[in-house]
């Protein structure tokens, strides 16, 4: 038990990753499957947005070169559909994973309610108001559990986006088939929903999500917790105090050890951190460039 009291000293490379700052030990925040799903989400979303955006803004000066990069508009369409199919596959894998987690959870209530759950909770609305009050110097910053309202919103936003973009995209993929049941104007409407929802998603992820998780002054320049899966106790106490308090409270109760799995994690290796940094910077670099393209195209 000496580890628990040991002060963790970050290696020289690590100040880049805000999840490795402060005192340890490391706490598991995301499982391997969470991280893999998020990695797949980045990969497929980027391919989808970079193959879709030249079509959305066909008149913009960057669209021609981008389409040539993909090998023509038909090839870009094929890659777009392949990435969409991949997204559908891992989304269903994710649904199965979540279902299995619920089935196998020793304490199912914790999956749906409380500081460990990602299901929206009345406290989220309260936290949202509290956050705005905090901005104006009225009161303390809200204390979040394992998932704050922004993270729940990111997740639910992706669910909404998946349904809207995926549904409309599927219709536009097989218009002849869907026209068995739907009138033709539905495809006009589907086109609008598809492209606008994609712009909302890209605009939200590449500005708001990036700022919230990577670029705000207390996290800059990178938070690699989604890539390494773990963060220091100090980080967790700052970002997810209710979850941290829960872990500490339950560690004192030997009986409930089974109910809450041991969340202490080994420090991420240098290789993992390096990968996270390179991948993370590449992702937000491309993301910000994409925002630049959208703004540029807005004037064409």
């Amino acid at each position: 038990m000496a580890e628990e009291t040991r002060t963790y000293v970050a290696p020289a490379l690590l100040p880049l990753d805000s999840a490795q700052r402060g005192r340890g030990p490391f706490i598991w925040r995301f499982t391997f499957f969470h991280r893999l799903t998020h990695f797949f989400a980045i990969l497929s979303f980027y391919i989808l947005i970079l193959t879709g955006i030249p079509l959305r803004f066909a008149c913009a000066p960057f669209s021609g070169p981008l389409i040539r990069f993909w090998g023509g508009v038909e090839r870009a369409g094929l890659i777009h559909r392949a990435a969409a199919a991949f997204m559908i596959v891992y989304t269903f894998a994710h649904i199965v994973y979540v279902a299995a987690r619920v089935v196998r959870a020793p304490n199912k209530r914790r999956m749906f309610w409380g500081s460990d759950s990602m299901v929206p909770h009345p406290d989220d609305a309260r936290d949202f108001v509290k956050q705005w009050r905090w901005y104006f110097g009225k009161g303390e910053k809200p204390k979040f559990g394992r998932y704050g309202y922004l993270e729940k919103m990111d997740y639910l936003g992706e669910v909404w986006g998946f349904i809207i973009i995926g549904g409309s995209g599927f219709m536009l993929w097989f218009p002849e088939l869907f026209s068995r049941w739907l009138p033709g104007w539905v495809f006009n409407v589907a086109t609008v929903f598809h492209s606008y929802e994609a712009m909302i998603a890209a605009g939200f992820l590449f500005t708001i999500h990036f700022f919230n998780v990577h670029l705000r002054p207390d996290k800059f320049p990178l938070d690699a917790v989604m890539f390494t899966g773990r963060a220091t106790k100090d980080y967790m106490a700052e970002e997810h105090p209710l979850m941290m308090a829960d872990i500490e409270a339950r560690e004192a109760e030997p009986e409930s050890v089974k109910a809450v799995p041991d969340r202490r994690a080994p420090a991420p290796t240098r290789g993992q951190t390096l990968f996270a940094a390179i991948f993370g910077f590449a992702a937000w670099g491309i993301g910000l460039a994409t925002v630049g393209m959208i703004l540029w195209a807005a004037f064409c």
Partner: protein, 371 residues
């Protein structure tokens, strides 16, 4: 009669021989004139005349009074018009006849002098090439590129008239808009005969619209003139979109807002352009029952590319205008809903983000715990 004809041929042959004794020998001519250039000008090798369209005609039929040597001063040469009255009369109406005497393009510019070429000779082979070269010697910018389908087998005169040549924008020109169906139709009659019933063709031929600001298109409006494109290739049908857009601005705008237009703009080789749906020479407004875009014909038209097209499929609006509530109210409201959602979500959470940054910077400056 036979005797007369034979006698006449004998005379012609004898006279020809006589003339060619001097005019067939450059060295001999050189001894009687001041320079080699003058000698060359007078040189008429017997074979040149024999192979020409005037092969059966004696020298004397054009050149009168040169029978003796030294040639008497009374000798004169007839103009071409003395035989070819109709062609000469046509030529005098054309632009080439009205030029300054020193620059005037006369019969010989195309037909040659002693190597006289008739219409058949000027329609093919080296004489055709040579004549086109002589036209483009002055009309440099109108030279056809080798890729032009007309470059090899068509003389300039086929479109610009052989004798009554006029400037392309002159009303009497063979390439004036109203004249094009006849001029181009001389070869392309499969197209010109159906085109006169087309919305553009009938407007042009009836003169409707020619007095307004919109001039109905003629053949060259879409196909160009110098160069003319092969209509079969993708490059042409993509370029044609811009030509249609010159008048049909809104249709072009909504086309480029649709999948067909965007994919076309990005270089798709299969996406529909104007002609794929509307046709090319049989374009009719959608309310006309024979139109390819009439409601009753849309399934057939769309199934060229979408074999599974059915009645509900073709109610898709290929020219969607999300700003037009009348045309498609659901599209209109969807468009505004998504715009509102975009502005709302990014606005609220954008502000959420900016204020967060401000708060953290204030706290950091005060040495707060969040910095």
């Amino acid at each position: 009669m036979a005797v007369l004809a034979l006698a006449s041929a004998g005379v012609a042959s004898a006279q020809q021989l006589d003339c060619s004794r001097c005019h067939g020998e450059l060295e001999l001519l050189r001894q009687h004139v001041a320079s080699l250039a003058d000698a060359r000008a007078l040189l008429v090798p017997e074979a040149v005349l024999a192979e020409s369209a005037h092969g059966g005609i004696s020298c004397g039929e054009c050149h009168n009074g040169f029978g003796r040597f030294p040639h008497p001063a009374t000798g004169r040469t007839d103009s071409c018009a003395s035989c070819h009255e109709a062609a000469a009369a046509e030529w005098t109406t054309g632009v080439h006849a009205r030029m300054d005497a020193t620059e005037r393009v006369t019969c010989s510019a195309c037909h040659g002098i002693h190597d006289v070429a008739d219409t058949t000779a000027l329609s093919q082979g080296p004489r055709l090439t040579a004549m086109n070269e002589s036209c483009t010697a002055c009309h440099e910018t109108q030279r056809l590129t080798p890729e032009d389908p007309h470059a090899q087998e068509t003389g300039c005169w086929a479109c610009h008239a052989p004798h009554s040549t006029h400037a392309a924008d002159a009303s009497l020109s063979w390439v004036a808009p109203m004249a094009q169906p006849r001029t181009c139709g001389a070869c392309h009659d499969a197209v010109s005969t159906v085109w006169v019933d087309d919305v553009h063709g009938s407007a042009l031929m009836s003169g409707n619209g020619t007095d307004g600001e919109i001039e109905p298109p003629a053949c060259t409006s879409c196909h160009g003139a110098h160069p003319i494109h092969s209509a079969g290739d993708r490059e042409f049908s993509v370029a044609a979109v811009d030509r249609c857009a010159a008048c049909h601005e809104h249709a072009a705008e909504t086309f480029f807002g649709s999948y067909h237009g965007k994919a076309t703009a990005l270089g798709s080789t299969v996406s529909a352009t104007c002609a794929q749906c509307h046709g090319a020479h049989t374009i009719l407004p959608d309310e006309h029952p024979a139109s390819s875009v009439a409601a009753s014909n849309l399934v057939e038209t769309c199934s060229d590319c979408h074999p599974q097209a059915r009645a509900s499929f073709v109610t898709y609006d290929s020219h969607p205008d999300p700003m037009d509530r009348e045309r498609n109210p659901v599209l209109f409201y969807s468009f505004w809903f998504m715009n509102a959602l975009l502005v709302g979500v990014l606005g609220v959470f954008g502000l959420h983000t900016v204020l967060w940054w401000v708060r953290l910077m204030i706290d950091r400056r005060r040495g707060g715990s969040h910095g």
